[in-house]
Amino acid sequence: MSAETFATRIWLLLVGLTLLSAALADGAAPGLLTALVALAVVGIKGALVIRHFMGLDGRFPRLRRLMNGYVVLVPALLFVLGSVLAR
């Protein structure tokens, strides 16, 4: 697969994940489930952007860990503080 095709597939995946998140915006699903899915989507989208768009692969392990830590810890913290403790 060419680099261009691969980048296009990652973009389509990101668009799909955004639409999944947007589908939860009507508030029909339970709040805790919505928060869990929407914030998990943040982690997945963030990791995809870091790895494939920013190009942080095995050549930059420390930077990659730091950035991945951000997109995992921030949504996790928001889930616990904003959704679990708020109940």
């Binding site: 680099a3 973009w11 668009v15 943040v42 963030g46 494939h52 768009f53 942080l56 949504p75 904003g82």
Partner: protein
Amino acid sequence: MQLTLDAVPHSPPARSPVPGNRGIWVGIFCELTEFALMFLAYAYFRLTFPEDFHRGPGLLNTTAGVANTLVMLTSSYCAMRAMIAIRCNQSGACLRWLAATLGLGVVFLLVKAWEFSWNLDHGVVGTGNSFIAMYYYLTLNHLVHVVWGCLGLVWALLRTWAGAYSPADHEGVEAATLYWHATDLAWIVIFPLMYVLR
């Protein structure tokens, strides 16, 4: 997935311990730290004023939020294509992809301006509701970073047009696109907080 990664041309090895340059990473970490503090403030206010945050997303224009998320992701994709192009020594294609990235950045700003105007028409102002105050605080700060990112892209675009970059040396394009992706990352977190979570 791993198989396909080898198809992506990389910058030359051992050029720098970080992609782009150290300066842009200082900027990126300052930006992400600033947003992390704002996200903590969001969590605090959400705990303190749960009713405002439950009703808040329903007051906003979700279509504008979704549209801007797609615009931002697509602009990031264009930035990635610009990097692929310059690594393959296609400076003309790089120029076009950078122009597309910048164009979508401007579209983001225009959609935001329309959304703020829609907000004012519908009484969505930053007083009396902590969620709406947080919404303006976060999105206006993000908007500032989009403007910085656009200026960086203009610089990279002009330098590419002048023939300053090659597959061996394209630090400027890489730095400008990295900052753009970081601004996209911040929006990826902001979007569900403002438009999805109740």
